[in-house]
Each structure stands twice: as C-alpha cells, then as structure tokens.
C-alpha cells in the first residue's frame, strides 16, 4: 500500500472527526482545522513530488486486486489537483478566522470543509467510477450543508436549487455507471478502458459516454447545465464560496478530462465538436451574465461559468498542447478564482457592501487590498505576464494550430469582456469616490493578518506562476502527455495484463 495515496483522504477525514468532537471548543477546533489543512498540504506535496518523474502511483484498497477492489491512482494531473486544492483549503481556513462569523464556525464549518476536502481528494485520486460517485456524494452533502449553513432564506432557496440539480447529476451518473457495468462488466476505469477498446468505437457505448458527459457537465457548470451555480454561489459567506468557486466545478472538469482521455476517448468524432460548441456557449453566456451584474459576488460567480468554457475548449481540441492548456488553466484558475472570492469578502468588510452601487473609495482606504484584487483580477482577464495569460495563450495557440479559428476568436473576445468586467469592479469599488454614509471601521491587526494574508499569499502564487510559466508549462505538458497515453495508466493499475491496452 502506498501511504502517499491514502494520506490525502485520511488527513481530512481525521481532521473532520476531530472537528466534530471539538465542536464545543471552537479554539481547539480551529487549531485542529489549521493543522489538518497544513497536513493535507504537506501530504499532497509529497504525493506530487513522487509523481513528478512520470511514475503513476497505484494503491489497491484492502489489497484486493484490480478490478475487484477499489483502486487509488495518482498521475501528474491528479496529484497537482490535490496540491492546488490543499493550497486553497489552507487559504480558506486561514481567512475564516476573521472572515466567518463565530456562529457558523461553531455550527461545524471546520469539520464540513475537511469532509469536503476529503471528497475532493477522493474524486481526484480514485480509479473507479462507482467510487468516484461516492466521493461526489461526499462533496455534494458537505457542500450543501455548507451552502445552507446559517439558514438564511436566500441561502436555503439557493441551496435547494444547488442540491436538486446536483442530485439530477448524481442520478444520471448512477444510471451511466449501471449501464457501463452492464456493457463491460467492470467499473474500474483502467479495466473499462481495456474492455471498451475491444468494442466498436461508435455504438451503445457512445450513448453511455454521453450520459457521463451530461452528469459531469452539470458538475462542471457547462452550458446549458449551469443554472445551479449563479443561483447559489453568492449566498454563503465568502470563505465558503471561495472554496466552492475554486474547487467544485473543477472536480467536474477533472472528471470530464479523466474519463474523456481514459475511458471514453473512442468516439472523438462525436465528442470533440460537441465539447467545442459547449465550450464556446459556456464562455459566452457566462461572461454576458457577468457583465450585467452589480454585485461583486455575482460577477465572480458568472465568471466561473465562463472560465469553465476555456477548460472544455482544451479538452475538445484534444491535442497535447490543448490538453496542457486545460491542465494549466485549471490549476491557475483554482488559485485565482478562490482568491477573488476571498478578496470579495475583504471588500465587503472594508467597503461595507457587495454592491458596486454602494462601494467606492477602496483604493484610498486600502491600497493593499487594491493590489490584492488587481493580481487575480488581471490574471483572470489574461494579462501578461500573470498566470492567466499563459493559460489563455496555450489554448489560443493550440486552437490556431488545430485550425479552429472560430473558437479562438470566441475565447479572445470573451477575455476582452472579462477585462471589462474586472475593470468595472475596479472603477466602481476602488476608483469611484466612496458614497455618503459608508464608513466601516478600518481593519484591525488581526484582521489584516487573517483577511489580507491569505489573499496576498494566493496572489504571490499567481505572480510566481506567471513569471515562472515555463516550470508549470513543462509540468502541464508532461501531464498532458500522460493523459494522452492511457496505456500507461492502464498498465500501472492492472499490471502486465493491461499491457495490450
């Protein structure tokens, strides 16, 4: 058994259990939570460093051989996702110290975020489709409780739309898993990949694949399945929303990439054009939705949708460069998007509102906050040399090299509108004079540390990715190469038996 693969599940599980036991002792719960987040970060970095040389780590749970038991697998992409998720979790836990009300903290915020982290890690590391379903359920239940934690009316109506749509996704996923089992007699992804290669590329399996596409498309908030996201993401407190914004949809994207390159990579003539069309529509509807908003949280929520389109674009193009672009985009986006939601929380604290109509003068009031906003905002809009520029550049180049000028045009136009949206927040919240009567107390020393510390740290990550883009690109390229060589994954999981795959 490889302990590196188990720790990213075990550490958050233990932390969640400790959090439940310590519910009545908030200080201790917080300390345990911080310790757990740090532990997960350390464990995930250890996992990543073990995959850097191209090794695919595999553990058979309970030592039952694949495909009979459950397999945990970490290739480069999966390991990197666990790391970035852990980075965001650490930032969220740090910012919750002052960014979250005490009542919600006592009601179980800490165990819930760690349960969520466990589900997210599980989803990245599992090599079994039914097990993936289980991790989705863990994520769904924890996120639903988190989104409705506090029981405000807006939260509950938003949370309801969130949970029902996601349950529809679960139902589709389960139906797909059942039908796949009926077709190939296995749910181990590597085993299913081998079995599917013996079948005609276009047939009933294409329909089953489309079922998974729908289920994961809902999770990823792709067009037109994203309605749950703008209905719910602006309702919880910002540390919670930041975690959602960074991670949840990206698990859907991850599942699309994983199954799209490993299991359902046969009927590309059908899936690629579909993915590209969905990608374009997702980018455009998301950014248009964002342009019309005046609430910072809603602007940011719609942009999540829009950016999912870019990630799908890389998958739909399907070349090595394009997949590297998707990997780069996902990793960059988790940091930037989580950060922007945390910044929105600070904007609310310093400016007294989320509404652009009632904000203003923040550049005068807190230049540090302005800097903390600008880095992720300009990165999101794809300005060089920040991380978002490289992500966009890779996809643009991949698209043009593949001769898909139309989607590249859409992607570039959408990035201009993203810039429009970000400068709108800047001009309204930071430049415009503060409106009459808004005068929240300035940040105290503790608040500076807890609220500005995490956003500046995440901003530093964004700048570092941008200036050292080559390092992350080399990694993303290697990850893409691995994804495009499913035989490696299959052999790692099944041993020599899958060698022919």
């Amino acid at each position: 058994m490889n302990v590196l693969l188990v720790l990213p599940l075990l550490v958050p599980l233990a932390t969640a259990v400790a959090g439940i036991l310590l519910l009545r002792v908030p200080r201790a719960a917080r300390a345990a939570s911080a310790l757990g987040a740090a532990g997960l970060l350390a464990a995930s970095i250890a996992l990543l460093s073990a995959t850097l040389d191209g090794t695919i780590l595999v553990t058979q749970a309970g030592a039952w051989p694949a495909p009979f038991g459950i397999t945990l697998v970490a290739d480069r992409f999966a390991a990197a996702m666990v790391v970035v998720g852990a980075v965001l979790l650490a930032a969220v836990v740090a910012s919750s110290v002052r960014g979250l009300d005490a009542a919600r903290e006592r009601a179980g915020f800490h165990p819930l975020v760690h349960a969520l982290a466990m589900g997210v890690s599980g989803a990245f590391l599992t090599g079994d489709l039914f097990n993936l379903y289980v991790w989705f359920e863990v994520m769904l239940m924890s996120s639903f409780v988190l989104v409705s934690l506090g029981g405000e009316r807006e939260q509950l109506t938003g949370g309801l739309r969130y949970v029902v749509l996601n349950l529809v996704s679960s139902a589709l996923f389960l139906a797909g898993a059942g039908l796949l089992y009926g077709t190939v007699g296995t749910l181990n992804m590597a085993d299913a990949a081998v079995a599917l290669r013996a079948m005609p590329a276009q047939g009933t399996t294409s329909v089953v694949a489309a079922l998974f596409l729908l289920a994961f498309g809902i999770k990823a908030a792709a067009f037109p399945l994203f309605f749950w996201l703008p209905a719910s993401y602006h309702t919880p407190p910002m540390p919670i929303a930041a975690l959602f914004a960074g991670l949840l949809t990206k698990v859907g994207v991850y599942a699309l990439v994983r199954t799209g390159t490993l299991v359902f990579d046969r009927d590309r003539a059908f899936t690629d054009p579909l993915l590209l069309a969905v990608a374009a529509l997702t980018m455009v509807t998301g950014v248009l939705g964002a342009m019309a908003q005046t609430d910072v949280r809603k602007v940011l929520s719609f942009h999540i949708v829009s950016q999912i389109g870019y990630m799908l674009m890389g998958l739909g193009l399907g070349t090595r460069l394009a997949l590297a672009g998707t990997v780069f985009y996902v990793l960059h986006h988790i940091v930037v998007k989580g950060n922007l939601f945390l910044v929105a929380g600070v904007i609310r604290r310093v400016g007294g509102s989320f509404s652009l109509d009632r904000l203003g003068g923040l550049l005068t009031r807190s230049p540090l906050l302005a800097a903390a906003f600008l880095v992720p905002a300009l990165s999101l809009a794809g300005l060089p040399p920040l991380s978002g520029f490289w992500a966009k550049y890779l996809l643009v180049r991949a698209g043009l090299e593949a001769g898909h000028g139309a989607i590249v045009g859409v992607a570039l136009a959408v990035s201009l509108l993203t810039l429009f949206s970000m400068t709108k927040i800047w001009a309204e919240a930071f430049w415009k004079p503060a409106p009459e009567g808004s005068d929240p107390a300035p940040l105290g020393a503790g608040e500076r540390l807890s609220l500005l510390g995490p956003v500046l740290a995440l901003g530093a990550v964004t700048v570092a990715i941008g200036l050292g883009a080559g390092v992350l690109f080399r990694f993303a390229d290697a990850a893409a190469a691995q994804l495009l060589e499913p035989g490696l994954y299959v052999r790692a999981v099944l041993g020599a038996r899958g060698g022919g795959g």
């Binding site: 009979f68 009316r153 309801l160 329909v207 309605f227 019309a292 719609f302 643009v396 400068t423």
Partner: protein, 773 residues
C-alpha cells in the same frame, strides 16, 4: 541592457516612498533613472550607426520558445532614446506640475513603470515578449488616464482606451501566434530573414490583418481614433508622454518593425497606406474645430500618426526615411507643445485657445519654447519640422500607389496643421491679452526647462540635420531591412517639393488668421460627429450590455422547476438522437422470455409511480412510492437476489415511515401547478422514461460480461472470511465506498443539527419549507 530596462519596475515601486521623502525634488531624482538609460543608449549610437546590433537575451519561457531577447538596431535605438529622453523631461516636469497633489508619488511611479514597459516594447526581438510589454503599456495607460479617479469622465475615458487598445491587443496576440506558425519562429529578425516564404504562406493574410488591427487601435488610426482625444482626461504630463510621444507610436513602430517581414505586398501597401491617409486627413479636419489646447493637440497627433502609418504603408526607402525623420520631429515638437499646454493650464487657469493671448511678456521662456515647437510643427525652416515635411512630400510624390491622392491629402492636412500649430504655440503668446481667471506668471524652471530643451532640440536638429543623417539612416535601414541613406538637408534647391512647402505655409498662415471663422465653420459640422465611430462604439457597448442584461435576467429568473426542465431537455436532446443512431436493440428477441410474474411486478412498479404523481395528498403519494419500491424489491427476489431484495425492503419501509412521520407535520398540498405546466412536465418525464428504457434495452442487447460477481462469490469466504457476499462487498471488497457513504451520513447529520441549532435569521425556516415544495 535587459536588467537596466526591467529595473524600472522596481524603481517605480519606490516612487511613492521617495515622493513622500523628497517632496518636489522627487521627479528630478526619479528622472535620473531614464536619464542614465538615455546616455547609455546614446553611447551606443556610433556602434549602431556603424552597422552593429548589440543584443542580449535571457530565457523567459524556453519551453514555449519564448525568450527575452533585446536587439538594439537603428529603429530600436531611435525609439529608446525618445522614450528615455522625453521620459526624463516629463518626470522632472511632473514632479513640479503635481506639486501638492496627494497622489504625486503613485503618478510618478506609474510613469516610471510605463517608461520601462515602453523601452522593453521597442527593444524586444521576441514577439511574445513584445506582446507582454505591449499589454503592460495598455494597462498602465488605463491607470494613468483614470488617474483623476474622482472624475467619472476620466474613468470612462480610461475604460474606453483600454477596451479599444486591449481588443486590438487580442487580435495582435492571435496574429503573432499565426506568424509563429507560418514562420516557425517568434523572433522578428528570424521572420524577416525568411520574409519571402512568409508572404507566400496561406496564413499570411489573416496574420497580417490581425497584426494591423492591433497596430491601428494602438496608434489611434481611423476608425479607432476616437479613444485618443478621450485620453486627454489624463494629467497633461501623461498626455505629453503616452498619448503623443511614445505609446501611440507603438503601433507605427510595430508596423515599421515588421515591415521587412510582412511589408511590400499589395495587401500591405493598400490597407496600411489608405488607413494612414484617411487618419491623417480625419485628424487634421477634426482638430480645427477644437478650442481646448489639449484636444487640438490630440487630433493633430491623430493626424501625425496617420501620416506615419501612411509612410510605412508606402514602404519605399524614401517613405521610410521620411517616416523616421518625422517620428523624431513630431516627438520633439508635440511633447513640447503638450507640456506648454500644461503650463498655460497651470499658470493661466485655462486651456481654451480663444481666451489665451499676449502672454509672451509674462511667460517669456515658455513662450519662446512654445514658438520654436510650433514653428517646427508648422514646417518653418530651419527647424526639423521643415526638413521632415519636405521628405514627406517627396515620398508622397514618388509613392507608387496613388500619388495623385496622397499628395493632396498630405498637403491639405498639413495646411490645417499649420493653423493648429500656430493656434497652440503662437496665439497664446501674441496679440491682445486674453480673459484669464488668474494673472499668469512664468512657470518654475523645472517646468519650462523641458519644453525649452525640446524646442531647442527642434531647432538644432533642423540646423544640423545633416549630422543626424547617419543615425536616422540606421533607423530607416532597420525598417527597410537593408541599408539605406536618408539625406537630410535644409536646402535642396528649387523644386516641386519646396513649392508645396511654401504653399502649405502660406495657406496655413491664412487659415490661422481666419482661425475663429474656421472653427465656427467646423463647429457647425460638429453634430456630424455623432455619426462617427465613437458613437458607434458607445452604441455597440450599450447594446452588448443590454444583451448581457437580457442574458443575465434569463439566467437568474430560473426556478427549480425551470432548472430541472433545462437539464432534462438537454439530456433528451443529446441522448435521444444518439441512441437512435448508434444504439443497437435486441428487445424483440428478449420479449418472449418474459415470465408472467415479471410482467405483473413491472405493472405494479409503473402503477405505483403513476399513483404517486396523480395523488391528491402527500400521504397517498408516499404510498405510491412505497408500492414502486416494494415492486422493485420483489423483482430482485424473482431474479434471484434475496440479499439485495431484503435490503431494498428495509430501505423502502424505513423511508415510508420517515416520510409519514415528517409529512404529518406539514400543511396540506395547495396551489398545484397549472394543467399546461403539468402537461409539459408529463411529456418530459415520459421522454426521460422512454430514453432510460431504450438505453437499458440497448445495453442489454450485448452480452453481460461481469467478471466481478464470480470473483466476489468465490473469494468471499476463503479470502475475506465472510459468508454474506453483499456484506463482504460492502465492508471489505469495496469498503472505501462504505467509508465515503458513512461520511455522507455523518455530514448530513451535522447539517440537520446545525440547521436546528443555528438560526441566524428566524425567517430562514419559513423559507426552507416553502422552497421544499
């Protein structure tokens, strides 16, 4: 070279602290940085003139073939000297101009950062690194135009400039990527070496058009020119530096830079020349209707950028030589005039040309500097502007396409610009004293020194223009791609060109004398401006925002029912046709083997579901669901899975009991949806049901090939020491799943607990019930 240029970003970060420390001297101290750069570049002139190209390279993203490679050829050197030289002057000026302004430090910092970005832009040989600097200048220009952030107008102008140049920037990025694809490299020098193949490549035209879109937006060419006058909302030193001397020249610079690689084709010559000529004329025509000194200068800058573009479009050696001379001449006189406009604004309290006059005795130094600059702009010998205009006319005369169009455009525009030059740089200092709000007096030396230096430069460069020949020839040679000697002379005998210069001057002066009537005449056509591209842009943006509002309204209007409908429709639309086209069905063979008991149970399941839907009360709906559940459990039994069946029975019984316990406390069902809506739902439900049934049949058509159940049955007892296979699967073979599901239950329990305990808003509970229906 690279470190020297990039260190400006660090210097910029220090500026605010420095400004706090040093007060009014901060500008001068910061100016030491560009001044040092200026002299460093100046020391390279002999080497570059001798034909060397000093270069340096740092790997940036080697994995993507991107390097930070700087190449100091003649063109880069000319631009770098302008950027650093005028940069130093503007910093000294701005330090005093903004005295007492609370944000002087940040402004100086932004200017220094811009200076570095602009220097990087002109020195880069790698297109992608060039693009990074290009975008940096756009975003810094945004912050500088919006510097007076309390003014809504400044914020709007900043956004407009950013969107226009940013949009062009994105086209440029796509163009660069295509160039990289077609030429196999992103190094400009390597692209130029392979120019013929590049021009024959099928991607040449799209790449060219995209690059031109980027260059035209940045250099304010028609129809994108409208952002430049708006950018005058920036503080005057910013306008002088960014929006006249440097950033707006970036587009022209890029065209000149890429001319050896892309220029000379029919497409290039026609598109670039005609856009440049149109811009030249438009800018000149629009400038005469202005009263505000800065707007006068802004439109004349548009016109100047047009003539530069036109010359690069024509692309002959004479034209590129003229372009380089004009680039220098324009930077010298236009920056000076902007700075003078700032002094007048500062000292006299107005920038209205009609209210300024007779100031020479009060502002002698400024006045002399202004006149030198204005005379150069008007093309009066012996200033550099004269030399440059001669060369422009000469090039236009000898242009291969349409000299009969280009010459009248050039001469006509220049006549108007003579009037503008005199209005800005001569009028305020001569004639009767104007009605200004405060009594003007001479500006501090830190402010008039800059214009004086630039004005003197215009004169010296004109008188000793021959000495400049080698240097400007080097610049022209870089733009041409082969060595060429520009001949700068004050006097080259009586010629057609000289005649044109004289006519321009005479008519220009006449226009100046009649400037008030000219302006009144132009103002009558002002309403026509409403039809222009600025209006179109605003309308387009407003249209886009209203489309966005419509989209957003649609996206957020949704209800839960709407959400589910969308997903269901998407599922049916995607899967239905796919199933029909790709699925294979074996249902017909399977039908005879259905046993009567199976059929009965199936009907029971269906009846239960239908009953649940049509039930009039919650309780009967739950009973219907229970019937369905029991029916399924019985089916499991019939198919020989007693363990599973028992589990299902237990689950069904428990959930019915729980439902009944909870539902008893809820009010009766009220307000059921309209029949029409229910019909839609029924149709959708039926479609999904049919789809699932079809899918199952299609999957069932193939052989069932589970390898797992055999292993589980065989290994359960010997390996896992358990007799009940289902239990062993749950706790051992797939124990990780169970761990996950237990976590789900624990989290759900925590959620219930918190909902009960934590009622942040008392109304919240009512919302939950309502939403739950």
């Amino acid at each position: 070279m690279i470190a020297a240029v990039l260190s400006g970003f660090a210097v910029a970060l220090l500026a605010p602290a420095l400004a706090k420390r040093l007060g009014r001297g901060a500008g001068a101290v910061l100016a030491l940085y560009p001044a040092a750069l200026f002299f460093r570049f100046l020391s390279r002139v002999p080497a570059v003139v001798a034909g060397e190209t000093p270069s340096a390279s740092l790997p940036f993203v080697p994995e993507l073939g991107i390097s930070l490679s700087f190449r100091l050829d003649g063109l880069a050197l000319l631009m770098a000297l302008l950027v650093t030289g005028i940069g130093a002057i503007v910093l000294v000026y701005a330090g005093t101009y903004l005295e007492g302004h609370p944000r002087r430090g940040p402004l100086l910092g932004l200017l220094v950062a811009f200076l570095s970005a602009m220097a990087g832009l002109v020195l880069c040989d790698d297109l992608l690194a060039l693009f990074a600097f290009w975008e940096a200048t756009s975003i810094l220009s945004y912050f500088l135009i919006g510097f007076e952030r309390e003014e809504a107008e400044a914020r709007a102008a900043a956004l407009q400039a950013l969107l226009v140049t940013g949009g062009g920037g994105l086209a440029l990025l796509a163009g660069f990527v295509l160039l990289g694809q077609a030429g196999g490299t992103l190094e400009v020098s390597a692209l130029a070496a392979n120019a013929e193949a590049l021009k024959a490549h099928p991607l040449y035209l799209p790449a060219l058009l995209l690059v031109l879109a980027g260059a035209f937006t940045k250099s304010a060419q028609v129809p994108f020119h409208f952002w430049l006058p708006g950018a005058m909302a920036a503080p005057t030193p910013v306008s002088a530096y960014l929006h006249s001397a440097t950033m707006v020249k970036a587009g022209v610079f890029l065209l000149a830079r890429l001319h050896p690689a892309l220029g000379g084709t029919r497409e290039w010559v026609w598109v670039v020349t005609s856009v440049g000529a149109a811009t030249m004329l438009t800018g000149a025509l629009l400038s005469v209707g202005q009263r505000d000194l800065k707007r006068l200068l802004a439109f004349s800058t548009v016109s100047a950028l047009g003539s530069l573009t036109m010359l690069v479009g024509v692309g002959t050696p004479a034209a590129l030589g003229a372009a380089m001379v004009f680039l220098l001449a324009h930077a010298l006189y236009k920056a000076a005039l902007f700075l003078v406009a700032g002094i007048l604004d500062h000292e006299a309290g107005t920038r209205d040309a009609t209210r300024l006059g007779g100031l020479l005795p009060l502002l002698p130094a400024t006045g002399v500097a202004a006149m030198a600059a204005a005379f150069s702009m008007a093309g009066l010998p012996p200033l550099l502007g004269f030399v440059s205009k001669e060369l422009l006319y000469d090039a236009a005369l000898r242009a291969s396409p349409l000299p009969f169009v280009l010459v009248p455009v050039a001469v006509g525009s220049n006549m108007l610009l003579v009037a503008v030059a005199l209005t800005v740089g001569f009028g305020p200092f001569t004639g009767p004293r104007g009605a200004t709000s405060k009594l003007p007096h001479e500006a501090p030396v830190a402010m008039w020194a800059g214009p004086a230096l630039l004005g003197f430069g215009s004169l010296a460069a004109g008188v000793f223009s021959g000495a400049l020949s080698p240097f400007l020839s080097a610049a022209a040679s870089s733009a041409l791609g082969h060595p060429y000697g520009v001949r700068l002379e004050l006097w080259h005998g009586f010629s057609l060109v000289l005649l044109k210069s004289l006519v321009t001057l005479v008519v220009g002066v006449a226009l100046y004398r009649g400037r008030h009537r000219l302006r009144a005449f132009a103002e009558r056509f002002a309403p026509l401006g409403a039809l222009g591209p600025a209006r179109l842009w605003r309308a387009g943006l407003a249209g886009l925002v209203s489309v966005a509002k419509g989209t957003a309204a649609f996206l957020s209007s949704g209800s839960l029912r709407q959400d589910v409908r969308v997903v269901v429709v998407a599922a049916v639309a995607l899967l239905g046709p796919l199933l029909l086209s790709r699925g294979t069905f074996g249902a017909a063979d399977a039908l005879p083997s259905v046993r009567p008991i199976e059929a009965v149970l199936a009907l029971l399941v269906v009846a239960g579901a239908v009953g649940a839907v049509v039930a009039g009360s919650r309780l009967s709906a739950v009973v219907g669901l229970g019937v369905t559940g029991y029916g399924i459990a019985l089916l499991f039994l019939v198919f020989g899975a007693p363990d599973l069946s028992m589990t299902q029975f237990a689950v069904e019984t428990l959930s019915v009991l729980l439902f009944v316990a909870v539902l008893r406390r809820l009010p009766r069902l009220r307000s059921r949806s309209a029949p029409r809506s229910r019909a839609v739902d029924a149709a959708l439900a039926a479609a999904v049901g049919a789809l699932m049934a079809g899918l199952v049949l299609a999957v069932h058509a193939g052989p069932l090939r589970s390898r797992l159940s055999g292993f589980f049955a065989e290994s359960s007892l010997p390996l896992a020491k358990g007799r009940n296979v289902v239990n062993v699967i749950l706790v051992d073979f797939r124990g990780l799943d169970t761990l996950g599901e237990i976590t789900v239950l624990a989290v759900a329990a925590l959620g219930v607990l918190s909902l009960v305990r934590l009622r942040l808003a008392a109304k919240g509970t009512a919302g939950a019930k309502e939403g739950g229906r």
